[in-house]
């Protein structure tokens, strides 16, 4: 576990990035959104909040987003579509979790494949709701 020490002596333990890398493609986004919106403020320690926020950004930038980017920028249309349908489903119940891939989705809307464009747009609409 990754440890964050509070000023009052408390300790916050979060799962390590290495384990997160083994998760399904959407799970890191669900996790980051959950900690950011449900837990971060409850720690009541400005420095710990900043450190954890930095760690969550690291999860996104070093693992979660590059995994999605690799698929979206690849040539396997079927894989792009199945990944999009996973994120479409997620965006219907938890649109905030999908915001980190908003730029990648916008890029996809410039593709020539109509199915891909349509699905990417649906997710973007859900994000903006």
């Amino acid at each position: 576990m990754k440890l964050f020490y509070k000023n009052d002596g408390g300790v916050i333990q979060l799962i390590e990035l290495e384990k997160i890398k083994e998760w399904s493609i959407e799970m890191p986004f669900i996790f980051v959104e959950y900690i950011r919106n449900n837990k971060l403020r409850s720690y009541r320690d400005v420095k710990v909040e900043a450190d954890i926020s930095k760690y969550l950004n690291e999860i996104l930038s070093k693992s979660a987003i590059p995994r999605v980017k690799q698929i979206f920028e690849g040539s396997n249309q079927a894989e792009i579509l199945s990944t999009l349908s996973i994120f479409e489903e997620l965006s219907e119940t938890n649109s905030r979790a999908v915001i980190p891939i908003q730029n990648l989705l916008e890029t996809l809307t410039n593709q020539t494949d109509k199915k891909i464009v349509s699905q990417a747009r649906k997710i973007l609409v859900n994000i903006k709701k």
Binding site: L3, V11, L14, I30, F31, Y34, N38, Y43
Partner: protein, 393 residues
């Protein structure tokens, strides 16, 4: 008149937590003695590999001799060894042979092969089944569930793996509540937000992952009734902790989950049990495993668990009145004497003394005896005080 609120800093517990965080509770897998059987917690793929290898060996024996047999470690009490260094009950290397062609073992081995077939199906399909479900797959063959249960345990030991690795699980009885967030596949479960009932520990622990916690200790509680008191008081809000109960002796899932919490979060673990030999036995099962499942002890035991209470000496310290104390029955006296004969008790002088004190004073008491000082005494005075002073065994 306003009630005086006592404040405890849980200093001794925090110090223990710091020590565990610095040194780590169990950084490495314990080195088991050479004369014991090594059991592995395996992935689906690895269990299937072992299973196919075993079946290939049987086929090969049939071709060569026409009289196949299989060997598996004996689970008789004479083959259970106490590993003093790691403080675990383990299985020795005595083997038993089951032959396909003798009348005495043919039924046994047929059941065993049927279990292997079921394990194969579960692993290939990535499904789990309870022991009860397995029994109902072939009632005629198994006759009674205790027979299929025995075959399931034999099959696991024959594959030198844990029973959970075979995807056959026992129904779990435990519940857990407190400062913990877990992942069950794609669902995040907040164990602080499930009301007073808490989270029912899943027998499918391979689907569960610890993702966040700000707890500083774990309390394993013997009884549901005591757990309810903690839940109603939202004990974990004032004292950051994780509470867990199996409502008696810890079942496999509860013990495995407790071990995982302790190992991954490096948290001190305490047991709160009745001040009687059965309570001490419950603590001992969390501590070093049960004899029946000795082969799985390294995956189920929590060797660092401390016996917080209720200790016999607490009855005087906390002035538990005579009316709330009970006399030992014959069966209690026998159990205490049995425990006093166990090597792991003899080695722990404080534990030995407390058991002897119980015998000398001819006394036992339930956790609820503390309620004679008020319903909140347990959560507001007794536990915080002991966790602050380090009064545990």
């Amino acid at each position: 008149m306003a009630k005086k609120q006592l404040n405890y800093d849980l200093n001794a517990t925090k110090e223990l937590f710091k020590e565990y965080l610095t040194k780590g509770i169990e950084k490495k897998q314990p080195q088991l003695p050479e004369n014991t059987v090594k059991i592995d917690d395996l992935t689906r793929k690895n269990v299937l590999e072992r299973l196919y290898k075993l079946v290939d060996e049987v086929i090969s024996k049939i071709k060569k001799t026409g009289r196949p047999s299989i060997q598996l470690p004996s689970r008789s009490s004479s083959n259970i060894i106490w590993d003093e260094e790691n403080d675990l009950l383990l299985l020795g290397q005595q083997l038993q042979e089951k032959q396909f062609h003798t009348l005495t073992s043919v039924a046994d081995i047929t059941r065993l092969m049927r279990i292997l077939e079921i394990i194969n199906e579960l692993l290939v399909k990535d499904l789990h089944a309870t022991k009860r479900e397995v029994y109902y797959t072939d009632v005629k063959l198994f006759k009674e569930q205790k027979i299929s249960d025995k075959s399931i345990e034999d099959a696991a030991i024959m594959l030198y793996t844990t029973r959970n690795s075979t995807h056959i699980v026992a129904t779990a009885n435990g519940t857990c509540i407190g400062r913990l967030r877990i992942r069950d596949k794609n669902d995040i479960i907040d164990l602080e937000g499930l009301g007073s009932g808490g989270w029912k520990i899943s027998p499918f622990l391979d689907n569960i992952e610890i993702i966040e916690s700000d707890a500083e200790f774990i309390l394993a509680i013997e009884k549901e009734a005591a757990m309810m008191r903690f839940a109603e008081d939202r004990f974990w809000r004032k004292y950051p902790c994780i509470l867990l109960t199996a409502g008696g002796v810890g079942d496999i899932a509860t013990r495995m989950f407790l071990k995982r919490l302790s190992k991954e979060l490096n948290l001190p673990v305490f047991s709160l049990v009745d001040s009687d030999p059965y309570g001490h036995y419950i603590h001992s099962v969390y501590l070093r495993g049960s004899k029946r499942l000795s082969y799985e002890s390294p995956f189920l035991a929590t060797p660092n668990i401390k016996l917080l209470g209720v200790l016999t000496r607490d009855l005087d310290t906390y002035k538990i009145p005579e009316v709330a104390r009970l006399k030992l029955e014959k069966v209690d006296i026998k159990r205490i004497k049995d425990l006093l004969n166990e090597e792991f008790v003899k080695r722990n002088k404080a534990w030995e003394e407390d058991l002897k004190l119980s015998l000398k004073k001819n006394v036992k008491a339930e956790i609820q005896a503390l309620s004679t000082h008020g319903f909140e005494f347990l959560t507001e005075k007794y536990l915080p005080e002991k966790l602050t002073t380090g009064d545990w065994i």
